[in-house]
Symmetry: C2
Subunit: 310 residues, 2 copies
């Protein structure tokens, strides 16, 4: 347990741009427990709003490269940028991947760029709760753009991507991506499709696949139609078109009251995750009960009733 005064001092330093202090605040959020509440209390209540941009897609499509290219673009525009790389927790890696940092190296010494890998270890409510809180820390610390890079295409990743104002779904040619996007249920979280490695064979086929999938969805005239942007991120190609597409989406969000709606939705997800995390600690399934279910002595629904009746 950290002293309240320590957390307040950290929050002071962090809001003045001290990266180590920002990092320590995020660690407190990640570690869960009382520290999270202390951080929540210590941060100034603020209606400062950063642009939160999610990047998601299968391994190998070039998420980190695209993230790096976006950091370069936003830095050129004079904005302060934070990057959160979200990894499912792994006991072997602690969720910290050296490679991500190596790729971002060109920005590592820029004091206006903050880079952080996140893991879900320990956090009450998992990443779904830790990520919004971390976004709040970064907003309070004055970052203008927050890029959240999520690994993989699973359910948790989709959820986290859903926290962003604008979610980019990255695909690459020749990976069966059309089907893969549908399979992962990721189509519905995409605000902008990015076909990275667009100089490779099959980019046009991937483009047509996405278009064909989109054609299956009926939309009202006022609804957002996801643009498809082609990039070759490691050469910076298409990145300007990508930032334009992100800007357009943000304008659309603001015009249609969607920015507020999404933020309320995000708050709901966050609070729900915290609530369920607390309840999971309170209502535990005993080893004895598990054994009885495994032996077929009691059906799992009857067992759940037992737990709920406490």
């Amino acid at each position: 347990m950290v002293e309240d005064a320590t957390v307040v001092a950290l929050a002071d330093k962090a809001t003045s741009g001290d990266h180590r202090a920002i990092g320590r605040l995020i660690s407190l959020v990640e570690n869960g427990g009382d520290g999270v509440r202390q951080v929540a209390r210590a941060l100034p209540v603020s209606d400062r709003r950063a642009r939160v941009i999610g990047l998601t897609g299968s391994p190998g499509v070039g998420k980190s490269t695209t993230t790096t290219a976006l950091v370069t673009a936003y830095r050129k525009a004079g904005l302060r940028v934070a990057v959160l790389a979200v990894d499912p927790s792994s006991p072997f890696t602690g969720g910290a991947i050296l490679g991500d940092r190596v790729r971002m190296q060109e920005h590592a010494t820029d004091p206006e760029v903050f880079i952080r890998s996140m893991s879900s270890r320990g956090h009450l409510g998992g990443l779904a709760a830790a990520t919004p809180q971390t976004v709040r820390v970064l907003e309070s610390c004055g970052f203008d753009v927050i890029l959240i890079e999520t690994v993989g295409v699973g359910q948790a990743e989709v959820e986290i991507a859903g926290l962003a104002d604008t979610t980019l779904v990255l695909l690459a040619p020749g990976m069966g991506d059309g089907i893969q996007a549908v399979k992962a249920g990721i189509l519905e979280v995409a605000d902008v499709f990015v076909i990275n490695k667009a100089d490779r064979d099959g980019a046009d086929a991937t483009f047509r696949d996405i278009r064909a999938m989109m054609a299956l969805i009926t939309r009202e005239p006022h609804e957002w139609r996801q643009p498809i942007v082609k990039t070759v991120a490691h050469r910076g190609e298409g990145v300007e078109e990508l930032t334009e597409a992100i800007d357009k989406h943000r304008d659309w969000l603001a015009e249609h009251g969607e920015l507020d709606r999404r933020r309320r939705e995000r708050a709901k997800t966050e609070v729900t995750a915290i609530v369920l995390g607390a309840l999971a600690r309170r209502f535990t399934v005993t080893d004895d009960l598990s054994a009885r279910v495994a032996e077929g002595e009691v059906d799992p629904y009857a067992a759940a009733d037992e737990v709920l009746q406490g």
Copy 2:
């Protein structure tokens, strides 16, 4: 709501091998609510145990092809086989992917093979609760082998893979798979590694990557050491070695009491998911509270306390 008598009649037909009846029971499980309990009650309590084999890995590594090859191998051995393809729910697809069925077509007319795509729509507790219940239906219906194919490498997928007795983690050369496996936190769920498309360049590098990762883990002498099997599933190459590796793992499980331990663990996951699903319905976050959190009027932890105090 279906009549109890209807569910009992369905269970009768299903246990005699009627595929349509099996399908309807699984739909009841998927749809959640009282139907699940009815199914649980209607099925004979049985200590029949199928071999439950999970297949997981990134999109494009050849999970469906490998599944198909395993079905062929187990059918040759005279076993009855069920396949569950687990897709995160998508409102656009309903979780049912035509492609999976097309690929499995050669088995589609075999009455001893049952194939099913699953989605999480509606189910109290999501896929983590629906899948074990579905496995139970299939066990009661006399299937000897149940293959669970999960899409993607996310947290939910890892959880579902963990339901299996033996989990195969599939990789393919040239997809940065080494890193991708670690990133996805999937290393720890692997009982057998499969390098599919092993005729491609880079198969040896992938092999070395996995070996290098495994070398980082200290193991007791009695612990299982994951074998690495190379396959070219669409030509059936390496499939015999794969089934041998699965058999060996099963023997190891039985010898070390792990089969029972895993089943208890699985029951615990299942009951916990049902409990949390029920609690999530009971403790809901109101729109008003979400708005206050979004506006910064109340911090999310204080909001969670409000919800928990009801």
